[in-house]
Amino acid sequence: MTAGVFALEGVCASRGGRSVLRDLDLEIGEGATALVGPSGAGKSTLLRLLNRLADPDRGTVRFAGRDVCDLDPLELRRRACLVPQLPALLPGTVADNVRYGPELCGNEADVPHSLELAGLGRSYAEREAGRLSVGEQQRVMLARALALEPEVLLLDEPTSALDSRTEAGVEATLMRLVHEHGVSVVVVTHDSGQARRLARRTIDLRPEAAG
């Protein structure tokens, strides 16, 4: 038995006043876990509960055995870093974006290294973040999460805008992080192939697939 990374008990969550997750019990173990389900099933909503960007209406979320409400939310977000579904970069250069997270806690980021891990050349560092393609922005979002050297990566469709070759590169990075650096990954994906390639376990959030 591996120790659980996240555990949800009786979690109910709503967005915009509508109930999205109902009485959800879930264990997310170490390694890579894929989160699948139809659009609107609540995959993004679930990820936001894990790093406490939002709190459930009812139930508990545990991280490494502890109720997330008992943890410092900022530290939790650095240890379990979320890459949101839609890119949202800060104004400035790519390097500014990659440095931002580590700088918040007084650390220096290895910008070229993070960029390369995310499948971007180091030549991207001085590019204007607002003038990148969506797929490039997506990888900068990943790079700035990697710069925090998190224990867990919460990835919301991280390769949805990438061509298959770039996607394969990102997947290889994720596999290396999981297998060589002991990072856990929770990845939301619409691609069952990606779920199979990456994840040891797949969680289906389809309402009728409960359990």
Binding site: A54, L74, P84, A88, Y100, G101, L104
Partner: protein, 259 residues
Amino acid sequence: MTPVDITLTEVAASLALVAIAAAVSLWRRAELEGDLAVAVLRSFLQLTAVGYVIQAIFDSDSLWLVALLLAGMVAVGTFTARGRARRVPGALRPIAFALSAAAGVTLALVLALDVFPAEPRYLVPVGGMVIGNAMTAAAVALNRLGDEVSAQARPLEATLALGATSHQAARPLVTGSLRSGLIPLIDQTKTTGVVAFPGTLVGALVAGAEPIDAVRLQLILLWLLLGSVALAGLIATSLGYRGFFTGAHQLREMRPAEE
């Protein structure tokens, strides 16, 4: 300064201009005449009422009554500004604090530095001017902040997800909306006398003051206003942004835009 004596006939005569504007509006079907009439009527009733209240306060020469009147203005100003900053959760307290601080600090400084004597004749108009302008600045800044936060919700959350505090994440938006609340007054101050004659200068000149005296008075009031309104905007935005976040640095779900 020579006291001015103005008859009601003279006041009524100034309406002729509004009448001309209303006639043009009717002729051009600009549908402005209704608003003009309401504006004339309201300004007449409100200013007349205020005139009597101020007269009563001057007659009583009571600083307590001054404080009461200004507190009433802060209360009305707070609710008015809150009405324009509906999208800011819990805006009432930051606005109330901003307006009271602006009025309180200004009057305290005015008295401490002996700018004006401690008489209702000075404290009422200065306090009223400060509260009115602070209200506008706070309302504009918070209204803008609400729009910005709802437009920038995704980048804000993405920043929070990197471990930023709500303060760090919101800082650029707070700075931007503070500027938009203060820019009108700052621009007006920069161009004063060149592009526009401010009201005090006009009033003092018409009332018979020497130009240099009128200018000095205008400068005092302009600078008091600039400082106090900037202070109000700073307080309103730097307290107001917190309403968008929970204690755990989460962005609250915004209520949909109203109106």
